[in-house]
């Protein structure tokens, strides 16, 4: 009964309405309600194009990564993604010399030659022409110029042999990875040369056999709907459920004090365990209800495209509860805990920062990322990759560990919230002079700081 009252209290409010609207817009913008427009996955036919994949093949990776590094070295413009957004890094002379040293150790070419090639080069960004001998530049009367040369052989610098950029035969792949990692460190991290990012240079076409295997996996393991549900979960966790629930939790928790209800609740018979856990599960239910609805709206749209196939109609629910819910759990728990402690919206800032860093740190690994501490695990695979089921299966234990860790952490935070609630109830925190003063100072600083 208490659960129903709490749920009703949450649902019949403007904050919840806003939550649902923002959630729907966020997911709608990612196209999760239009999966059917991508077309259905059909059994691959021999002789077709099945797309590409990345594999850790040293013979492919080493020359491609070397060429890329050398090209960026020549221009002294390196692309990195340190916190998600692209950042062009320019190195100073000393750092450039270290990159030259790295390329030299990979290729065996003298660093001076690397610099020589660099100086004589011309690029779209910094075009230059060197004219030796007795050449002259004459206006042609049409707004252009005519170059006349007495000695055509004078353009010798432009006809120099390009450097033979090949990886030394006796360089091992592990040594290569170490050197590339050094280059990444010099660039401040987030480059394509990081040891775990080098696989991006190993692009190979998917074979017919592999495509067929992918298709069969999608059919037998994902029952088709699983792939779509996974894609929905990927967007839902990253774009909404790792951040939006904290707003709801903070607003609902602050409401007790703003509505002067806290003391009325504190003096009731109900235990802190009952009150906090009921509120937690009511918030979680309120957050998950629209997600479950949207996931089914998204998934049901493709059911008609796979008539006659063995579809898993529970796939959206499984992914909602297994993949999405732990992220919502942690956002709600953190919101409740910090709000109970400080009676400020501090939790929004903390969760917001965590979400921002998590999303952007992993922007290069959007395709798939199941790191143990990722707030929003990623598996951004659509129909063109047949949902990369094998990749998911391989990483499934890690995903489960991650999700269990977050669910466990959230329960731990709820327990901490109960302890804080009981302390508040007895005036041990709010009645504590020093802590009260510290919190008041914190709030005052916040109020006085310029918006």
């Amino acid at each position: 009964m208490m659960f129903c009252r709490e749920l009703k209290k949450i649902i019949w409010g403007i904050p919840y309405l806003l939550f649902v609207v923002v959630l729907t817009l966020a997911l709608f913008s990612q196209g999760v309600l239009e999966f059917d427009t991508e077309g259905s996955v059909s059994k691959p036919e021999p002789g077709g194009n099945y797309g590409t994949k990345n594999e850790e093949i040293p013979e492919l990776i080493m020359p491609a990564a070397l060429q890329s590094l050398y090209a960026e070295f020549q221009q002294n413009e390196y692309r990195t993604y340190p916190i998600g957004f692209i950042k062009t890094v320019k190195l100073n002379d000393k750092e450039q010399a270290e990159i030259a040293e790295i390329i030299s150790r990979i290729t065996g070419i003298d660093t001076e030659k690397l610099y020589g090639e660099n100086e004589n080069s011309y690029t779209a960004g910094e075009f230059s022409i060197q004219i030796d001998g007795d050449g002259s530049l004459q206006p042609d009367g049409n707004g252009g110029f005519t170059i006349s040369m007495d000695d055509a052989a004078a353009i010798n610098s432009m006809q120099e042999e390009p450097l033979d950029l090949t990886v030394r035969a006796n360089l091992s792949y592990s040594e290569f990875r170490e050197l590339m990692q050094r280059a990444d460190d010099l660039l401040g991290g987030g480059s394509d040369y990081a040891a775990d990012a080098l696989i991006g240079f190993g692009t190979v076409p998917v074979t017919y056999e592999e495509a067929l295997e992918r298709y069969e996996l999608m059919k037998t393991r994902d029952h088709v709907t699983g792939g779509y549900a996974r894609l929905f979960s990927d967007y839902a966790v990253a774009m909404a459920l790792s951040i939006l629930p904290v707003f709801l939790a903070v607003i609902m928790d602050m409401k007790d004090r703003s509505c002067k209800m806290a003391e009325l609740i504190y003096t009731r018979k109900a235990s802190g365990i009952k009150i906090i856990f009921t509120r937690y599960f009511a918030l979680l239910t309120a957050v998950m209800l629209p997600i479950i609805l949207l996931s089914y709206l998204s998934n049901a749209g493709i059911w008609g495209m796979y008539q006659g196939m063995d579809l898993d109609y529970f796939a959206p629910l499984k992914y909602d509860l297994g993949w999405i819910m732990p992220s919502a759990m942690i956002a709600i728990a953190l919101g409740m805990c910090l709000t109970e402690l400080t009676n400020t919206p501090l939790a929004i800032a903390v969760q917001g920062l965590w979400w921002f860093v998590d999303i952007n740190m992993g922007i290069k690994s959007v395709a798939s990322s199941y790191s143990l501490f990722r707030l929003a695990p990623r598996h951004n695979a659509g129909t063109n990759t047949y949902f990369r089921t094998q990749d998911f299966i391989d990483n499934f234990p890690r995903l489960i560990t991650n999700r269990l860790l977050f669910a466990g952490l959230s329960i731990l935070l709820v327990i901490v919230t109960i302890v804080i609630f009981e302390a508040n109830r007895k005036g041990q925190i709010n009645g504590n002079h020093k802590l009260k003063k510290a919190l008041a100072n914190f709030r005052n600083r916040k109020d006085q700081s310029p918006a």
Partner: protein
């Protein structure tokens, strides 16, 4: 056994500031008034009894249960805080039901108690009205109703009539008197009229110390022969304010009827029957509370 509250050597600090200083009180069945100025420690004492604050030292038992046993204490108390409100978007019935659930009442009990109490506080007609749409007086009546949901043995009511119009104040006092027939009701207030109308036993609290505990009659008896009235010209009023400890006055044309406390009658003054306000002011004065004539006038205004 008749319910009672025993407070012995109670001390409470906020940091270095002592909010309650060796408080000793015995409170029995019926209405008990706790009178004191703003900042006297009334709310701290009320919150300590309501398990919302922890004491530094001393013993407090409510109906034989030590106040440290919060779980049991919460079963037997009802509390109406100084700043009372509820979730504004809930209607009266929903708000009552929500708090009844937190009080651990069954579905049947919730319905019975809510209907009965709303009837008692005359809010049955407004049962489906949103809390935010209630007037100040209605909100306070709702406050009493919610505090009685669990049929408590002790009702703790902190400054309940501040800001109410005279009609609502009288209605509220009557409600408290009804509630006090079968339980302990502790009424904290700085409005003497509330005490005068409802309480037989009172305590005066000042700077965290109990200055007086006893009956209203005894308090009044102590003030006999020390309260006087004098009719004077308005022009003389500033001079009198400096000389006398004025507790009340009212103007009639060019003359002013002044009521004051003194050990001996001033020239032209007549002795009169003390009221509780006079007695209270005398008590504060006798106990060394710094009250200038001007301050007394201010307090008197707040108290009347």
């Amino acid at each position: 056994m008749e319910p009672s509250i025993q407070i012995q050597h109670l001390n409470k600090f906020y940091g270095k500031k002592q909010a309650l200083c060796d408080v000793n009180l015995t409170i029995g069945l019926g209405m008990f008034g706790l009178l004191g100025r703003n900042g006297a420690g009334k709310t701290t004492l009320m919150k300590t009894l309501a398990t919302l604050l922890q004491k530094k030292s001393g013993t407090v038992t409510i109906c034989g249960i030590p106040v440290e046993n919060e779980k049991e204490i919460r079963r037997i108390i009802g509390y109406l805080p100084q700043e009372f409100s509820m979730y504004p978007t809930m209607n009266v019935i929903e708000a009552m039901d929500y708090l009844a659930i937190l009080s651990g009442l069954s579905k049947r009990e919730r319905k019975e108690r809510t209907d009965l109490l709303l009837e008692k506080v005359n809010l049955t007609e407004h049962r489906y009205q949103k809390v935010k749409a209630l007037s100040g007086g209605m909100k306070r009546r709702l406050g009493i109703a919610q505090a009685l949901l669990n049929d408590p043995k002790v009702l703790i009511v902190d400054e309940p009539t501040a800001g109410l119009d005279p009609e609502e104040r009288i209605r509220f006092r009557n409600l408290l008197s009804d509630a006090a027939e079968e339980r302990i009701v502790i009424l904290s207030t700085h409005i003497v009229g509330d005490i005068e109308a409802t309480c037989e036993n009172i305590a005066i609290l000042d700077n965290g110390k109990v200055l007086y505990q006893g009956t209203v009659d005894d308090l009044l008896a102590a003030a006999c022969g020390k309260v006087f009235t004098k009719v004077t010209d308005r022009a003389e009023l500033p001079k009198l304010k400096n000389e006398l400890f004025i507790t009340g006055m009212h103007t009639q044309g060019k003359s002013v009827h002044v009521r004051f406390i003194a050990d001996n009658a001033a020239p032209g003054a007549d002795a009169c029957e003390p009221n509780i306000e006079d007695a209270y002011m005398l008590y504060l004065k006798q106990n060394g509370t710094k009250l200038s004539a001007f301050a007394a006038e201010e307090i008197g205004g707040a108290l009347s």
